[in-house]
């Protein structure tokens, strides 16, 4: 049963439920030298905007206990370069591409997603309403239900592609936001993006990041992420893609049990660039040995 890991997220069918998270795997092509990127369940590419973005002033990252802070600021090549230069190579490599879309207004998001609709080889759109590192858009759409729903509805009308909405842990009421994007037509939700954090160099008395603050990721946030996935799983019917500090099969299983139908591996790609494929292989062995599918684990945490 070679397709024991095949996973369905509403209209999106993946060869396995282990993806890589946006911002931690570039455009995927960088990794072709060292692995078969078509083995990954889905590659959520670096967030793409209509126009290229230079990103924030350095320093843009620093390490923190069991994690890291980043303030990249969605530096990206823009839609046109992504489509003309990256997509042909991603198609040739057989990669499952999740286009991570960033806009500064609902209409901006809609325009971008309308354009993605015409691009061959994109499996789904992940709508980024949760980036903590940009001045406009980003997290501002993700902190409450109304703007989150407006963006989701605009994207829903603009594309036939599966729509996955990436949620912020900084939402005032995450369950409310999740329900709002579900009602507005999202096919799935992915969570969590990073927490806004800060680290200060006590010698210079300056923040360790150029813009002062950044998004916290890595194993440090995993228990928070697992709890949030569990919370959201109680209130939505659409599938959940869980992420936050996953480094190995055991971590991924926690998310399945909490209610995620698929997972994304993020910061761990920096620790070990082949970790996603290793988790996929370990998951296949785990499921084969138990004669189960990942879907059999979803939400099966026993709360006593």
């Amino acid at each position: 049963m070679s397709d024991i890991l095949k996973t369905t997220l509403g209209p999106l069918v993946l060869k396995n439920p282990v993806m890589v998270a946006s911002g931690t795997f570039g455009y995927g092509l960088e990794y072709s030298d060292i692995m078969d990127i078509s083995a990954i369940g889905g590659i959520s590419v670096k967030g793409i905007s209509l126009s290229p973005r230079p990103g924030n002033p350095p320093p843009r990252m620093c390490e923190t206990p069991s994690g890291m802070l980043n303030s990249i600021g969605l530096a990206n090549v823009g839609f046109d370069v992504f489509v003309t230069e990256m997509m042909p190579k991603l198609r040739a490599a057989g990669a499952t591409v999740i286009a991570n879309a960033y806009g500064t207004s609902a209409s901006d998001f809609a325009e971008l997603c309308r354009k993605f609709d015409d691009v061959e080889g994109i499996a789904a759109i992940e709508v980024n309403i949760s980036c903590p590192n940009v001045k406009s858009g980003g997290i501002h759409f993700g902190v409450s239900g109304k703007p989150a729903a407006e963006v989701t509805a605009a994207v829903r009308q603009a594309t036939r592609l599966p729509v996955m909405v990436k949620l912020s842990p900084e939402a005032r009421d995450l369950k409310e936001v999740a329900r709002a994007v579900e009602e507005a037509g999202a096919d799935s939700v992915s969570l969590i993006n990073t927490f806004r954090g800060m680290s200060i160099d006590v010698n210079t008395r300056r923040p360790r990041l150029g813009v002062g603050f950044g998004g916290l990721s890595g194993p440090a946030i995993r228990p928070l992420a697992v709890r949030m996935v569990y919370d959201v799983a109680q209130v939505v019917r659409i599938p959940i893609v869980g992420m936050g500090g996953i480094t190995c099969l055991r971590d991924a299983l926690e998310f399945f049990l909490a209610g995620a139908s698929a997972v994304q591996v993020g910061t761990a790609n920096f620790s070990n660039p082949t970790v996603a494929v290793e988790i996929i292989n370990d998951l296949r062995e785990y499921c084969t040995n138990r004669n189960i599918r990942p879907a059999d684990l979803v939400g099966k945490v026993e709360m006593g």
Partner: protein
């Protein structure tokens, strides 16, 4: 800068030897199958099998490529401390070679200017140039006589001139003093690696002297291969360039301004 046709590899390997080459500095040797390719100035990302934290690998210039790879580690924090305290047989993950190396000189002489742990890529370069019989003047600046790792290897392949801030060995003062004298002969290329303030000073001296200067920059980075966009450096025109994929070797003037 130079690109090699050798693609990066991700090697799960083992430490062969850890040698303390100066107080707080360790030379890590690790087995490489297939052999580690790479030219002076290129780097590797290295992480031990130490569990979840520190999360990120660390970037190191290649000191030696081939069947036994080498990097120079200065113990400055939790990650480098773990690396310095590894032992023969310990697991190590090595990603590389990464980035672009130094472009070898068209002129007849090379002047290498190192500060502190920035000596690492320049030892590799000096040894390569010596194989080709290119005369190398190696200016090595440090705080004290205890901060001169790999000094003996340099003596074997180059004309070594040492400066220390406390005068405990060599000329007392900064490495830029002998640099100015050396550049009176303009028929050379300068290669430099060290603290940013030193590189900026070296770049400006070379620009004023009309001598080509290549610098290898250091930056925090997560991926080492262009995906995280964490290692941005601001160019004189305000635009960003990335140490991992655009560098780490840059023509000094493109970073610090000036003519050459």
């Amino acid at each position: 800068m130079t690109t090699t046709d050798n693609s990066k590899k991700y090697l799960k390997t083992r430490i062969q030897r850890v040698e303390t080459v100066a107080p707080g500095y360790s030379l890590l040797s690790f087995e490489c199958t297939p052999p580690l390719t790479g030219i002076p100035g290129q780097f590797v990302m290295i992480r031990g099998a130490w569990g979840a934290s520190p999360v990120l690998p660390r970037a190191f210039s290649i000191v030696q490529a081939g069947n036994i790879g080498q990097v120079l580690v200065r113990d400055v924090g939790p990650g480098t401390s773990l690396l310095c305290n590894m032992h023969s047989g310990d697991e190590l993950a090595v990603l590389g070679p990464l980035g672009n190396g130094f472009v070898e000189p068209k002129s007849t002489k090379a002047v290498l200017v190192a500060g502190g742990v920035g000596v690492a890529p320049l030892v590799f370069l000096a040894e390569k140039l010596a194989e080709r019989d290119v005369p190398v003047t190696f200016l090595y600046g440090a705080r004290t006589e205890n901060d001169l790792p790999l000094k003996e290897r340099i003596e074997n392949c180059a004309n070594l001139i040492i400066t220390t801030e406390d005068g405990s060995i060599g000329t007392k003062g900064r490495v830029t003093i002998p640099l100015k004298e050396t550049l009176q002969d303009q028929n050379c290329v300068v290669y430099s690696c060290g603290p940013n303030l030193m590189l900026e000073a070296v770049g400006k001296i070379c620009a004023a002297a009309g001598v080509e200067c290549q610098v290898a920059l250091e930056s925090p980075m997560a991926c080492g291969m262009g995906t995280c966009k964490g290692c941005a450096v601001v160019r004189p025109d305000g635009s960003f360039t990335y140490v991992c994929t655009d560098g780490p070797v840059f023509v000094a003037a493109t970073i610090y301004g000036g003519e050459k």
